[in-house]
């Protein structure tokens, strides 16, 4: 994991090592809560192995708002800067191997990165990508039927379909698990 980052960002060795010290490796079983509103000191996670979902409580029902897999960062910059949407809970779906960093360290690293043009541009691109993603999700939500959205998810993020329990996917799609089951059944009859 560490080596991947070293290659990816090409920092000077001393600086990289300083950053690397901030990261802690943990292994956790499935259904482990990593972050919730109770916690005061926030953390950010990188997934070496496993799969995570982010969700929040809406009138007693959980609404899943995102899934994360290997090589992705969770508990990310957005929720660091503001708390949106309200406070979310992050928990593992599969047994996972994670690297975590304190929020303050992450923010400090980001501030330093902003002065290195190459990394700054990389950072800005990452934010843009995230913006595009959420634009896509939003547009898809208003223009596509649930069945179309399921097919889109299957095409664009097959990992989600393969690895995530179906009722979480239904919640993420904003439909009932019964309805998702019907969609699958209808599709399989072709």
């Amino acid at each position: 994991m560490i080596e991947q980052f070293r290659n990816r960002f090409q920092l000077e060795a001393s600086k990289f090592d300083a950053y690397a010290k901030c990261f802690n490796r943990i292994e956790v079983p499935a259904k482990t809560t990593l972050l919730n509103e109770g916690e005061i000191s926030k953390r950010m996670f990188f997934i070496e192995k496993g799969c995570i979902r982010e969700w929040f409580n809406n009138d007693g029902k959980d609404v899943t708002c995102q899934f994360f897999f290997e090589q992705e960062a969770v508990g990310s910059i957005e929720s660091f800067k503001k708390n949106i949407p309200g406070l979310t809970t992050i928990e593992t779906i599969e047994p996972s191997v994670l690297w975590w960093i304190h929020q303050e360290d992450a923010l400090r690293v980001i501030e330093e990165i902003k002065d290195i043009p190459r990394l700054r541009d990389l950072f800005i691109d990452k934010i843009f990508e995230r913006t595009f993603d959420y634009m896509k999700y939003f547009f898809s939500a208003i223009k596509d039927s649930p069945q179309e959205r399921y097919l889109r998810l299957l095409a664009e993020r097959p990992e989600v379909i393969r690895r995530v329990p179906q009722h979480y996917i239904a919640s993420y799609m904003g439909i009932s698990s019964v309805h998702l089951s019907r969609i699958k059944s209808k599709l399989s009859k072709r």
Copy 2:
């Protein structure tokens, strides 16, 4: 308009004037198409007065994806860097006074801005804000009923309700105009 920007960004006079030269003022009637897939050279607009909607064609129906009002920028950075979602059309809803800039000029200004820490941070904050907005829209789409989303729109962006024709709002909410009419009627009966 120009003076507002001068105050907002506090650039050196010479640089500011160079930028200012790139902007062109136009006045257009309602329902004017400002940008569509036919156009090769793209433009970006700032609204001095009026109101704009952005939409795209989805199987023969228009889907409205956003509304813009005074002091907002349209045809923005996102669609400059990538073309998402596909190509959108931008048209005025009300008679409007606009300032436009060539895409290339806008990109050049942005590149220069990245080296001025204060403006760079402003720029990054703007992108973040946009990301948060679309996250909120997406989450609201999966967790709230159409009626709740209407009330949210009324609370958070009353301008949209006041100034935009209802069938555009319905399209933006991803519901039929009949259904939106029913929601309003139901709410007014309380």
